[in-house]
């Protein structure tokens, strides 16, 4: 058992060390060379387009189910479905929006990034980049990291909007709460602080997804099987880390009054 734990710890620290080395390299090339604008825009568009539909659908139904659950529970306790707009928006903006969007982006765009870079690694395309005067960190990793960091907050914003719309539809048409009441519940009890709370989280998640997915891709070995393992590993790692990070970020941000 100790051997297994030791081996796992060794693997874990190798992965953390490898990721840290890659991030150091990102910082070095970001300062040393021209930025690949075209690549970064292309990657941002890819990540956004890849994930928008799923994100929108997920959020719409999350908002709907939140409204239904909140409305029914509060209705059972107080007789009327009050504060549905507040509960839906509060849950979405501070927690579910950033977390669910990040999970969807990790499964959709993150997996695609790992598979693409991983395939390049096993078919010697990354070595080819080196031989053609291009550092793969500069050409492949930085634009994708930038893509995640720029796109995830935008996707989360849309995700929140779709969720609020979903909540509105259920509130108005299923729970028969007047639309004005639903909207007043949002504007009266929600502030910029709540929005910032979720927004800061999305940046942290985006940075983590970019780092893990790119690192898993670039360190892929062992042909098609290796690409499969890396891709699965990247998605599992990012989803677990999103939830773990979410707790710690919530604790830190709340402690700072955000």
């Amino acid at each position: 058992m100790f051997t297994s734990i030791g081996k796992y710890m060794l693997y874990l620290f190798t992965e953390i060390g490898g990721s840290a080395k890659m991030l150091r390299s990102c910082l070095f090339w970001l300062m040393r060379s021209r930025f690949e604008w075209a690549q970064a825009v292309e990657q941002s568009v890819n990540i956004g387009v890849d994930s928008f539909g799923v994100t929108a659908l997920t959020s719409l139904f999350t908002g709907m189910v939140l409204a239904l659950q909140a409305g029914n529970t509060i209705g059972n306790i107080f007789g009327d479905p009050i504060f549905v707009g507040t509960i839906v928006t509060f849950s979405l903006i501070r927690e579910l929006g950033p977390v669910l969007t990040s999970v969807v982006v990790s499964g959709r765009a993150g997996a695609a990034v790992t598979a693409q870079i991983g395939t390049m690694a096993v078919t010697e395309q990354i070595d080819a980049l080196y031989t053609l005067g291009t550092n793969p960190i500069r050409y492949l990793v930085i634009p994708r990291m930038v893509g995640f960091v720029f796109t995830l907050p935008v996707l989360t914003l849309f995700s929140n909007l779709f969720g609020i719309v979903g909540g509105y539809l259920v509130s108005v048409y299923a729970l028969h709460v007047p639309g004005e009441v639903y909207l007043t519940d949002i504007t009266s009890y929600m502030g910029v602080r709540d929005f910032m709370h979720g927004f800061i989280k999305t940046f942290a998640f985006a940075f983590m997804i970019g780092t893990v997915c790119c690192y898993k891709g670039i360190s892929t070995r062992g042909g098609a099987e290796g690409v499969g393992k890396s891709t699965t590993g990247a998605v599992v790692t990012t989803i677990v880390l999103i939830l773990v990070l979410d707790y710690f970020l919530t604790a830190i941000l709340t402690a700072f009054g955000i």
Binding site: M120, T123, E124, D127, A128, Y130, T131, L132, G133, N135
Partner: protein, 254 residues
């Protein structure tokens, strides 16, 4: 031009290159022969700095490139080398034309208005028509992939071209076409070539010098004639392609 001195390379416990010393003369074609797993690819990857040598020296015009730790300085050395990968390693997200001109953006000052001319010239040099430039790598045959990959190498006009098993996986006629191409490029451009191969027919045709790598050491270095006349039983067995001899390859795991 390139001098390899007591080069060693290990991956963990496994020592792939035990003690390799080799001289690669300028403007000549040097073939490195050896069976699968003998360390041939490791050797040329060390030459271009894709792998870090465990110990020893690689002197390029007298400068030891194993001592260069800066990625930027190493890139400047790599600028002098071209590398033809075994499977071509073409970027599959780009067209053939974009593949050919990829290195120009990073390694040369050539304006993008020159790119169509360069694509035309380099594809012609490897015997391909200009309209191939619009195709994607997935639409090419194995031989075409290698030729496009060679055109990509030639576009940046390197002084040394490293060929990693250029004829592997090709039919005998296409193998011979690639061998002719290597000879033609040496004659036309005067490039120094290092060719990793286990294709004896091709090696005898293209090589000025041959080195035989076995279990991480150079067993014999000489001209193709020396290889034809050698009494070394290991080299003799490899050259004749016989299963009988001192080189034992395992058919089954023991």
């Amino acid at each position: 031009m390139i001098e390899i001195v007591h080069l060693k390379k290990s991956f963990g416990e496994k020592q792939v290159l035990k003690d390799v010393s080799l001289n690669i003369p300028k403007g000549k074609t040097t073939c490195i022969l050896g069976g699968s797993g003998s360390g041939k690819s490791t050797l040329i990857k060390c030459l271009i700095g894709l792998l870090e040598a465990t110990s020893g020296q690689i002197l390029v015009d007298g400068r030891d490139i194993t001592k260069i730790k800066s990625e930027v300085k190493l890139a400047a050395v790599r600028r002098r080398f071209g590398y033809l990968f075994q499977e071509g390693a073409l970027f599959d997200s780009m067209t053939v034309g974009e593949n050919v001109t990829f290195g120009l953006k990073y390694l040369t000052d050539a304006p993008s208005s020159d790119y169509p001319r360069i694509i035309r010239e380099k594809l012609a040099l490897v015997g391909l028509k200009e309209d191939v430039a619009k195709l994607n790598p997935s639409e090419l045959s194995g031989g075409m992939k290698k030729r496009v990959s060679l055109a990509r190498v030639l576009a940046v006009e390197p002084e040394v071209i490293l060929y990693d098993e250029p004829t592997t996986g090709l039919d005998p006629i296409m193998s011979d076409i690639i061998s002719d191409l290597i000879i033609e490029l040496k004659a036309k451009l005067g490039v120094t070539s290092v060719v990793i191969t286990h294709d004896m027919h091709s090696a005898f045709k293209i090589a000025d010098y041959i080195a035989f790598l076995y279990e991480g050491n150079i067993l014999l270095y000489g001209t193709p004639q020396d290889f034809r006349n050698t009494d070394n039983p290991y080299v003799k067995q490899f050259v004749t392609g016989s299963s009988k001899g001192p080189i034992h390859m395992k058919l089954r795991a023991e």
